[in-house]
């Protein structure tokens, strides 16, 4: 006779986590309160959004200049963070670094990740003043917290067989890393870098709000001056275009790397 498994055996870690999430969200509902006033939500929304249209195209050139500065901040900070993260991630990878180096590095990365990008931007503005350099410093620190974690996890998950084979053929540990482990980790690391670049373009659009350069300053000015929501909407539109282009290009490149790694492209 077929015996059914007890009902609770269906709950694995994934199921329990989802259940806890659901209970937490439902439990939080009563504490989410509105103002208690009788407001016309739809009316407010439509009045406010109608001010966004039509976008004011007269400021396009100025916006594009700000956008260029935003992209430049994102490019430089992503490059700097990649270089720093590669070094830190090697120190934070369990399969590479000794324990005495592993834990302090991971602790430093945890501290860096705790600070949000806007706070990094404020700190940088206080130190170097209100300029794009502050943006670069802020986003570099912010990105290192994430990239170094992603990189170290990639190194830990990468196939180490080739590394061991090269060691047995006489390669030094550094050479075995460079030619055995790094090529297996590189495509995933490159994919993380692209994601970080996309993310930094978005972040660089915001940090200007606190004076760290880029298009964020324009957003702040238009939001604070009267009747400028149509200018604000043009800036948003430009950010949307650049983020979509980056997202599309990044996905194409990532897909091509995945195909190549899975051996789908054999010319």
């Amino acid at each position: 006779m077929k015996t059914e498994l007890p009902w609770h055996s269906r709950f694995d870690l994934l199921g329990i986590t989802f259940l806890l999430f659901l209970l937490g969200a439902i439990g939080a509902l009563p504490s989410i309160e509105g103002s208690g006033r009788d407001l016309d939500y739809w009316g407010n929304l439509s009045r406010f959004t109608s001010q966004f249209f039509p976008p004011d195209w007269s400021i396009l050139n100025r916006t594009l200049e700000g956008l260029l500065e935003t992209v430049q901040i994102a490019l430089v900070s992503t490059l700097l963070s990649i270089v720093i993260s590669i070094v830190l991630s090697i120190c934070a990878a369990r399969t590479i670094a000794p324990l005495w180096l592993l834990w302090p590095t991971r602790m430093i990365l945890n501290v860096i990740r705790t600070i949000p990008s806007l706070l990094w931007a404020l700190l940088a503005v206080v130190i170097v003043g209100s300029n794009p350099l502050a943006g670069v410093i802020a986003l570099t620190f912010y990105s290192v917290g994430y990239l170094a974690k992603f990189f170290s996890e990639t190194f830990e998950a990468a196939d180490t067989d080739a590394q061991q084979a090269l060691r047995s053929l006489g390669a030094s540990p550094l050479q075995a890393f460079q030619f055995g482990l790094w090529p297996n980790a590189r495509p995933i690391i490159w994919s993380h870098c692209l994601w970080m670049l996309e993310y930094n373009v978005r972040s660089a659009s915001i940090i200007g709000y606190v004076g760290a350069g880029g298009i964020g300053l324009h957003l702040k000015l238009y939001a604070e001056s009267a009747d400028s929501w149509n200018k604000f909407s043009l800036v948003l539109l430009c950010i949307l275009v650049i983020v979509t282009v980056l997202d599309f290009t990044g996905e194409k490149i990532r897909q091509s790397i995945r195909d190549k790694l899975e051996g789908k492209k054999s010319n």
């Binding site: 080739a162 084979a165 090269l166 053929l169 006489g170 051996g263 010319n267």
Partner: protein, 228 residues
């Protein structure tokens, strides 16, 4: 008689409480092609890895008489290639033991690149040298692994089923290259093989393993006159 490159004395192999082999005494002499045969699970890979020094024998001992440990190299059954690197870079990995980290950091020396390209051409892969190994077929990857090991210029080469994914004519070609490269250096090639035709065609000595009896291994001299 020349000094053997490696000797196994009263060797016993065991995996997870299963005894694969007992009492094997074997000398690997220069200029010899030794074939190891036997059905899957008979202990061919375990024997090669023990001879390579990767595994400790359960009984007996392996004595390596080579002047430099890197003169012993292995072609692994699972190939152990870097998938995200080109075939050429993988092959060049075989030369790393001869160079410092700094001298290979940005580019391999041109003479090594030439040797690697020559090997790839010999093994019919000249058109694939710049392709990632992940995009190559199993047979092509097998040949890349063979090239990498040959570039390390071993005197004793342990090859674990190096031609299992190749068609018979290509397999013969690869075995000829391996055999010539090793015997040219007065070395010894130990090769796990499944195909009896390849064994009789290339091997001087064949070790037949018996999965049902650890003492049932047989060592046959196939070319007694030439060996003598």
């Amino acid at each position: 008689m020349s000094t053997p490159l490696l000797t196994a004395q009263e060797l016993g192999l065991r995996i997870e409480n299963r005894t694969l082999l007992k009492g094997l005494t074997l000398s690997l002499n220069p200029g010899t092609f030794v074939a190891v045969t036997g059905p899957s699970g008979s202990g061919k890979t375990t024997l090669l890895r023990t001879l390579a020094g990767e595994l400790e024998p359960a009984e007996g001992k392996v004595v390596n008489h080579l002047d430099c440990p890197t003169r012993l190299a292995m072609i692994f059954q699972d190939l152990q290639l870097a998938d995200g690197a080109t075939a050429l870079t993988n092959v060049l990995g075989g030369s790393l033991g001869r160079h410092s980290f700094l001298s290979t950091l940005f580019r391999f020396p041109s003479d090594e690149r030439e040797k690697a390209l020559h090997l790839l051409a010999q093994f019919g892969l000249s058109g694939k040298s710049n392709q990632w190994t992940s995009t190559l077929s199993r047979g092509e990857r097998q040949r890349v692994a063979a090239c990498r090991t040959l570039l390390s210029q071993p005197q004793l080469l342990l090859a674990d089923e190096p031609v299992s994914s190749l068609d018979p004519s290509l397999a013969d070609e690869v075995l000829t290259h391996l055999s010539n490269s090793i015997s040219g250096k007065n070395g010894c090639l130990v090769c796990a093989l499944h195909n009896d035709e390849q064994v009789t065609k290339f091997a001087d000595l064949v070790l037949r393993l018996d999965p049902s009896d650890p003492n049932g291994w047989k060592l046959e001299d196939l070319k007694p006159k030439e060996v003598a």
